[in-house]
Amino acid sequence: MRGNVRYLAWAGVVVALGILFYSTRSTISHDPWTWVGVFLTVAVFSFLYRENRIYRFAEHLVVGVANGYSISFTVHRVIVPYVIKPLSAGFKALAADGPSLKLLDPNSSANFIILVPLAIGLLYFARFIPKYAWLVRIPMAIFMGYYTGQTVPAAFTGVVFPQLKATLVTQASFGGDPWLGVWKVLVLVGVLTTLTYFFFSREHKGVLKWSAKTGIIYVMVGFGASFGFTVMARISLAIGRFYFLFRDWLGILH
């Protein structure tokens, strides 16, 4: 088996050299950033052979760059326009026109009301001061309360109720294309039998047994479909990288 691997590896090298030779006739990128991308792509691909330092370097670089990018983007796109600018304009307006209720209008370009959410947000940093670490619970409580309040009703109105409605089989299901009605029945059977399979309060015997057996077929078909889609996605991503190497770097593809 090892001999076969070596043979295939050499075959791969020969193919790669052939392609590189072919590429010399076209334009290899002169953009240094493309070369950086190529280095990182090859560094990450090197993991397919084995874990190594170049791969680790690329991995750490991605984490660092992604964090740096996110922080700088947030400063420029959130902190500056939504905090610094309104406050700065607010101080200018205060100096020019004196205090006014307009400075507390959240829709105004110059306002101090932003200080309230800013103060609440800053409490997240209280965790770094052990004596006041409990204050971090305030923004977390607001955050969780807000999201729970928004999400729970939305889950019902946006997912549970429409999906329940779509599962029902009525006379209208067969009104147009009869095949649609058949699919609807299959969906209903799938939902009921799959739920049976995950019903653990009673031993799967008799009707329950056959229902659960049918349910597991649906579950397996679902897993198979998911696996197929996952394979498709991973191959697509590999195609994307090879495109980059062969088009943007080597210039073989046009």
Binding site: M1, Y69, T151, P162, M232, I235, S236, F246
Partner: protein
């Protein structure tokens, strides 16, 4: 033949085979018929039914570099379709990582159109025909806020221009003026729109997602909550083909180009799965 060997193929061999299966169709391309699936047709027809005089197309580019191979062709195809129909195209994003790539997609399509324009009237103008509104976190804020006022949420566009000064935003108040929101996503942004925007504001939603996410969304197609869907590079290729057939708008069809390597890759995986199973059953029979 020693079938048991099939159970112990070195994974490096599989990687090399997969690399070769992808590279050869890329270097020596061939075109395969892509056909169309009902969810792809549904998305295409929904955009085709939007009245350009009344409503705009919103494309939410919620993907990161990891899924660029799948989501970038979708983004480009959707913007292309919108502009081919003379719709106003509004691009937003919920991920800061996707903003530069969304900008690249917008500029690519603008350049495509302008390089083929025969006169000034046919040219696409940023700020009049298409706009990139950028990023406002967290996602729930713009999703809910746009039900009241789009310019209220996005006060400036990606380039810092006041949205109330842009011609494209005239008459675009809220979701009422959006014919379809298509979430191009590598994650779950279509579900956010389905949960928060559709029940409250009744806006039509479609999804263009990676193949990994597609199975989760078929239930929403069946229930009619999603007007259409593109699943993975295959969905993007079908969409590129539909636009090409109807509107003949030029430009690179990246997903179509990827269908050759994709098909060969699938055939290889199928062969490996079959070989592995044959090896398993032969080995089991021998053992018994």
């Amino acid at each position: 033949m020693n079938f048991e060997k099939l159970l112990h193929i070195d994974r490096k061999v599989i990687f090399v085979l997969m690399g070769v299966a992808i590279v050869i169709p890329l270097v020596f391309p061939f075109r395969l018929p892509v056909g169309e699936q009902p969810p792809t047709r549904g998305l295409f027809d929904t955009i085709d039914r939007i009245d350009p005089a009344k409503q705009a197309l919103m494309v939410s580019t919620d993907w990161t570099p990891q899924t660029e191979a799948e989501n970038q062709p979708m983004t480009v195809a959707l913007i292309r379709h919108g502009l081919a129909r003379k719709l106003r195209v509004v691009v937003i994003s919920f991920y800061n990582e996707s903003i530069p790539m969304a900008n690249q997609a917008v500029m690519q399509v603008v350049e495509e159109y302008n390089s083929q324009a025969k006169n000034e009237a046919e040219k696409v103008v940023y700020g009049r025909d298409v706009v990139l509104l950028g990023w406002v976190p967290p996602p729930i804020v713009p999703i809910l806020g746009m039900g009241q006022s789009i310019t209220g949420v996005y006060k400036v566009d990606y380039y810092g221009a006041g949205t109330d000064t842009l011609p494209i935003m005239k008459g675009l108040g809220s979701y009422d003026d959006i014919g379809l929101v298509c979430a191009v996503s590598g994650g779950s942004s279509p579900q956010w729109f389905l949960q928060f925007a559709q029940p409250r504001y009744g806006v039509k939603i479609a999804a263009a997602v990676t193949a990994v996410s597609a199975p989760d969304l078929y239930a929403y197609i069946e229930s009619g909550q999603l007007s259409g869907m593109l699943g993975g590079m295959k969905g993007a290729a079908e969409y590129e083909n539909l636009i090409e057939e109807k509107y003949h708008v030029g430009g690179r069809q990246r997903a179509m180009e990827g269908m050759g390597p994709q098909s060969i890759g699938h055939l290889l995986i199928m062969a490996l799965v079959i070989m592995g199973n044959v090896g398993y059953f032969v080995a089991r029979r021998k053992a018994s």
